[in-house]
Amino acid sequence: MSKHLKVEVKNGKIKEAINFFLIELLKKNLVSALLVPRELPSKDNVVQSLVSQPDELKNADVFAPVLPVNSARIISEMTRLGSGKASVGAILRSCEIRALIELVKLKQASLDNLLIIGIDCPGTYSVKDYKALCQQGIYPEDELFKNLKKGMEDVRIREACKVCEYPVPSNSDLTFGFLGVDFEKNIFFQANTSKGEKILDRFSYLEFDGLKIREEFIFKYLKQKIKKRDELFALTQKEVKGWENLISFFSACINCHNCMKVCPVCYCRECFFESACFEFNGDKYLNWAKKKGSIKMPKDTALFHLGRMAHMATSCVGCGACEEACPNNIPLLKVFKTVAHNVQEIFQYVPGKKLQEPLPLTTFKEDELQRVGED
């Protein structure tokens, strides 16, 4: 039932074609506001903004390959206490939509009155690299499309993106697609729901006919990504195997909890590790130091990560926001993603895939996992 429309790109300016559409969405009152990334005045980063006036969309930059925040968190903030009465359109990447679906299952976000516009995503730069590129006079978006055209991947894109299995968004009402498309001439809009279809009905774009080529492209593209991903899994497992290696992996952690604060699916409203359970008096610390000879301070950093892993493993979407936020550059993504992958496989659960599918830890089957409790 999905609908595909071809959107012409004039003079290679993809951004203009998109921004025209977004402005029309507001002008035609099809949504009352849009959550979009906009270029900062400094022109070296983007920031998510909730825009209600069409002329505020001039600097909208939906394809800017950078992810300063996983917007599932923003939507959670906007809807946790109830969605607004008028509809909001949100332009999201696959990892953001997947995290959002998990948050809805966790009752920490709502999809009411939300129009999800998913965009294809071949990867993002870290905020730092994005800025550096801009300062060198390289426009990251051009770089992205240039590489894509050559069928290459920039080595500078984030690890999370290099091994991402979901470059094409799912669970969106509308999709802006350009992967596997001759994007210098045209991109396409796809409606996946009746909500999305109703919107496209208001536009006079022509039918898009490049779907087959796109599918073939994506099939090959995914194969490469998954190969890279599996290589990363194997290396990571070697790197952290054994308690000592694990401890040394996390040894630079200063317990700031940034990784947890930016993680879109770290779901506890109050973190156990920030509770009184982890407040001790001086004698307690002295006793530990005496008993063990020495203790590393701040204490319990590895425990924090193990606790987070046990919690995140079923819902981690592999966005890498944790790694981005770490002041000490601990490469967290690979460990979290590897652990998550193993656990998700046991339960045959893909986070963010299906809204109706319950979270693995809120359901069970009577006749499963018989071996637990035997060995």
């Binding site: 497992q237 952290v240 195997k241 054994g242 308690w243 000592e244 290696n245 694990l246 401890i247 040394s248 040894s251 156990f272 008993k291 063990k292 020495s294 203790i295 590393k296 319990d300 950093t301 590895a302 425990l303 193990l306 606790g307 892993m309 046990a310 493993a313 079923t314 590897t338 652990v339 193993n342 656990v343 046991i346 339960f347 693995p360 830890l361 809120t362 069970f364 009577e366 499963e368 996992l369 637990v372 409790g373 035997e374 060995d375």
Partner: protein, 141 residues
Amino acid sequence: MKVKEPKIVAFLCNWCSYAGADLAGVSRIQYPPNIRVIRVPCSSRVNPLFILKALQEGVDGVLVAGCHPGDCHYISGNYLARRKFTIFKNLLDYLGIEKDRVHFTWISAAEGARFAEIVKEVTERVKKLGPVKRLVKNRSA
């Protein structure tokens, strides 16, 4: 030289396994004295962190026991616990922490003898691994 006796923490659910341990006691069934029992309302009360923390603080092994599947006092607590422990075991395995340090099992209120058997078996397996040096040393944890 004598092998150092391991210390094992046992989280027992109030409604089945704890009663099972009690039965072993009143029936005067012998079992190794290595176990330190912590009574919990249900096996699903046991947070994996309790287990990690216990190991980190120097116990050599952990046993978690609850009602048999289908018999949980809270109907589904142990089914959910089983999923939680599966994740946790997988995590331990992935991280290369010795599997035999952590045991999950089901013991009913009528299974005093089974309780004693399990304590015996767990104690032996933990003894084989030796004291949990690497978790305690904590040079940089």
